[in-house]
Amino acid sequence: MFLYAWAILFLPLLGFIGLSWFGDRLPGAKSGYAASAVVGAAFLVSFFAFGHLLSLEPEQRINNVAVLYPWIQAGSFHLDLAILVDPLSVFMLLIITGVGFLIHVYSIGYMDGDPEYTRFFSYMNLFIFSMALLVLAADFFFLIVGWALVGLASYLLIGFWTEKTSAVLAARKAFVMNVIGDVGMVIAAFVAFDAFGTLNFVEIFTEAPKLFGENDETVLLITLFLLVGAFAKSAQLPLHTWLPDAMEGPTPVSALIHAATMVTAGVYLVARCNVLYDLAPYAMYFIATVGATTAIFAGTIALVQNDIKRVIAYSTMSQLGYMFLAAGVGAYSLAMFHLMTHAFFKALLFLSAGSVIHGLHGEQDIRNMGGLKTAMPITCGVFLIGTLTLAGFPLTSGFFSKEAIIMSAYHAPMGNFLFWSLAVLTAGLTAFYSFRIFFYAFLGNSRNPQVKAHESPPIMLAPLAVLAFFSLVMGLAGPAVMHFLAPVFGGQIPVHYEDGLLESIALLAGLAGFVAVLGLYLTDEERLEMIKEALLPFHEILYKKYYVDELYDLLIVIPTKATGKFMDQLTEKKGIDFSVDKVGAVVKQISEEISAWQNGRVRTYALNMLAGVAIILLFVVFK
């Protein structure tokens, strides 16, 4: 029935293969249009599938598996190449291909003039393919395949400028972190296979409630190992260090991969396995805790960073924390709703930041910006919309999704005061840092008069306008989204909790953040210096990102390399090889000594013979 949904996978795959093989023969910007076209077509197919699902009864919308061919057979282990088309996967696909399409179009302008233009678009198509595979997979195996391919695409795109050392290092870091996650997923899949005898989602999710009770050891193992993958991909503590570094890639990549799609894979995974997580309240509690902690952790770091993309990157981490918090308290569709609104406003923010960088010829440090509102009025306008949405300004989409999560953090059965207060604090921080970059970049006077800023071309501004529109209005789609997704989450629609007091506090926190940063902006230089002086120690810790990178270097990277060196020098050369050579030398020495007797002198031979005869005689006589 849903066999046509395979086109969502094949279109971008075709784009990737076509561009990487024949792309060089396409003139100029053609490859950009071709790549955008396949993603656009994939979006249309996704939209068709969306309509198709809506035309079905809600209970028929789930568990639709489209098998292409049987893929592997080893003993009782068999796997089909199959996709699962249900509201959750289609919802994700609409975001991936929709936002993906806009970013592709934007890139036509942004990447213009890059010598490796075609290669860029072929990688982008590869990414869309991998991500679509990840969300369409009907079993853990192909989920892992998509999971790892997304990691690869991200490796290729972060390290796209191969001659830039920092980019190459960041790419490797991202890949290795992701491989750690992959291994966690593989182990989770093994435990699942051990317990269920299959890797198929539909079978596992039907069997699980029958076989296992709450917090059963097996379920906990599966869910927790899955989280290793989820946290690595979604940059949650402690596997987050790759995401800020990933900003070394071209800005559209940051928008596509590190805001709108790839990093949301972890949230998707938890939502996809909601049946298992419902059976594992301990794991849920863990998710919520990590989510809330990451939200505030990243929020604090974002306060002091000076690179415009890094600030947005940390805000991504922080917002992902919100999503995990929502999933952790059992409000899966709220997590998905925030995932959607975040995809719009974060892509918007990144792309308009890209427009700024483009207009300033590569400048990323907000301390060198300023006064851009006159030179780049449209960019300024959409950036403001993005900022307002991120900060959760009432009636923007970010307001609806975030407010619902904050309320669930307290009122949901699994919620508590701690989760709520972390979420509210983060809301305050969010308002602070998002307006900080807005003030720095767009208001006041230019701090670097040498650079003449210019507004970006229409092909870049058009996607921005579309994203800005969706950022503003998609909050109203909340109830519809939750109804659409309900069949996947066992028919549950999260309650909307009404609590005037808690709501006002959350809004006040946002306002406080805004007022604080406004205050700082209006303060004169001299007092600013004084404040800076007073807060220096805190500033240092935050600026250095709590020294996590340094800690990992000290605890893992350096010891591992040292062990390798040690083994190479000592065990290998002085240990094993030395003893082998020693044995060889001893044998050689012995044979040399023996051969000394065969010196060609007849007298020695005669003597030897005599000795031999004597020994034999003695042996015979005394036997």
């Binding site: 592997i72 057979q73 395949v145 050392t165 890949f175 491989v179 750690i180």
Partner: protein, 523 residues
């Protein structure tokens, strides 16, 4: 007879080459390549005619050889050896084309390559212990010569080390073979070295099994090579010419794992079960140790050589999972390693031919000057890491799945190797291919030429073919693996326990179900 013909065709070819005058280097090379290619095509015929549904030996041929000792010329092929056999003919042709630019003693080089081919093929089809031993020793000689004559500066040291290591191992194997010969004679009154007969009639107590097992183990563990018997490998690889490295990685190491599958497991199943922890621990050490040492290598070839130690650890782990997942994975990974590592050695050779160095720090930014080369290198690097969608992943997944059923900690330990592989391979790749080149020599590099493209293309096709559609390969293993599992399965040796692994899982599940229901009722 057909099998015998395919096996000895390269050797016949080698003799024929002797009659071509030394000066006609072009003719010699073309003739050698022609023979190897014909042999490869013929071996594909074997695959076509192969019956997947039985574990019995096929294309069998049995003739009396040394009647007085009961030695027969008995050859045949089954699901375990078939693809190794095909890979050997393929890699022989591959290696001859790889060494197209060999300068020194062309005729003798090609003769050695072809003779090596027959020696390796013989190992995979011999069904007689004596015959096996003859082939096993025979292939050493041409390899020794190839390293010793056409190798790098320390070639003599490496060749002697290679020869001595392997010879020591095979001596112990000879002892075990003779011992088995007499045990069978005592038990059945028949003097024979026929492997099939012995497999059916060898029945010894656990104590003796263990001794025999250890003797075979040493011979094969050196060949694999398992930690700590691996130190001949980096030296042999570094000094061997490119084609020698390809054959070494692609086929010679596989003889070790093949030996375990053909001798240790079916002949000594009880001992094999007893030694699972021993092998598993050595393999995991090998996986992690190989990866860690690979990480700090400065020489490209050495790095790939140590990665072999790590990869072969996976294969051994899969074999000693002693279940279908593990064994299928191990057999597939045997092929995968031959393809990926063989191709990596070739690519290192490509760049060595141009720059005459393999030092990683000499390179950098190669992707700017050799983009096609860089893409090929990346695909094979990722295949070696085991990226999903490529061949390595399917093998590693099945192996870990198989080991996971035996012992979760072993599987987890091995999984660490996957992470380390990503670290050292990508680190190497980045230092060679990316960033700015600080050496003007690199700017003169030219991209792959036609011959090199022809060589790398089939490897890349195989990487994706096995990665995306491994069924045709796994199917050839199926019947033989099922049979082998039925012989060595741990449950055969556990008192009072019947049924396969999954039966016990199912029972556990059923028990849990009942438990839960009673639990609910009591509420």
């Amino acid at each position: 007879m057909f099998l015998t013909f395919v096996t000895f065709l390269p050797l016949l070819g080698a003799f024929a080459l002797a009659f071509i005058p030394k000066e006609n280097e072009g003719t010699i090379k073309q003739a050698a390549l022609g023979i190897a290619l014909v042999d490869f095509v013929l071996s594909l015929g074997l695959w076509m005619g192969f019956d997947n549904t039985t574990h019995a030996m096929q294309f069998e041929f049995n003739a009396s050889w040394i009647a007085a000792w009961g030695v027969n010329y008995h050859v045949g092929i089954d699901g375990i050896s078939l693809l190794l056999y095909v890979m050997t003919t393929f890699l022989t042709a591959f290696s001859i084309l790889v060494s197209w630019n060999v300068k020194k003693h062309v005729r003798e080089y090609m003769m050695a390559m072809l003779a090596l081919g027959t020696g390796m093929l013989g190992v995979f089809i011999a069904l007689d212990l004596f015959l096996f031993y003859v082939f096993w020793e025979f292939q050493l000689v041409p390899m020794y010569i190839i390293i010793g004559v056409w190798g790098g500066p320390r070639r003599i040291y490496a060749a002697v080390k290679f020869f001595l290591y392997t010879a020591v191992g095979s001596l112990l194997m000879l002892v075990a073979i003779i011992w088995i010969y007499f045990i069978v004679k005592d038990a059945t009154g028949v003097f024979t070295t026929d492997l099939i007969y012995i497999t059916q009639h060898l029945d010894v107590d656990l104590g003796t099994q263990k001794w025999l097992w250890m003797a075979f183990f040493l011979a094969f563990a050196i060949k694999v090579p398992m930690f700590p018997f691996h130190t001949w490998l980096p030296d042999a690889h570094v000094e061997a010419p490119t084609a020698g490295s390809v054959i070494l990685a692609g086929v010679l190491l596989k003889m070790g794992t093949y030996g375990f599958l053909r001798f240790n497991l079916p002949l000594l199943p009880h001992a094999s079960n007893e030694f699972i922890p021993f092998i598993a621990v050595l393999s995991i050490i090998g996986i992690v140790y190989g990866a860690l040492v690979a990480m700090v290598q400065e020489d490209l070839k050495k790095l790939v050589a140590y990665s072999s130690v790590s990869h072969l650890g996976f294969v051994m782990l899969g074999i000693f999972a002693l279940n279908e997942y593990g064994l299928q994975g191990a057999l597939l990974q045997n092929l995968n390693h031959g393809i990926s590592t063989g191709a990596l050695f070739f690519l290192v050779g490509v760049i060595y031919d141009r720059r005459h160095t393999r030092e990683i720090k000499e390179f950098g930014g190669i992707t700017n000057y050799m983009p096609k080369f860089a893409v090929c290198f990346m695909i094979l690097t990722l295949s070696s890491i085991g990226l999903p969608g490529m061949n390595g992943f399917v093998g590693e997944f099945l192996i870990l799945l198989g080991m996971f059923q035996v012992n979760k900690m072993y599987a987890a330990g091995a999984a660490l190797g996957v992470i380390l592989a990503a670290c050292y391979m990508l680190w190497m790749f980045q230092r060679v291919m990316f960033m700015q080149s600080n050496n003007p020599e690199n700017e003169k590099l030219t991209d792959l030429d036609l011959r090199e493209k022809i060589l790398i293309a089939p490897m890349i096709v195989l990487v994706f073919w096995i990665g995306l559609y491994p069924k045709p390969f796994l199917k050839t293993f199926d019947a033989s693996v099922s049979h082998l599992v039925s012989v060595v399965h741990p449950d055969n040796f556990r008192p009072g326990k019947a049924g396969g692994q999954h039966a016990s899982v199912k029972i556990d599940k059923a028990l849990k179900k009942i438990e839960k229901q009673t639990h609910k009722k009591s509420h």
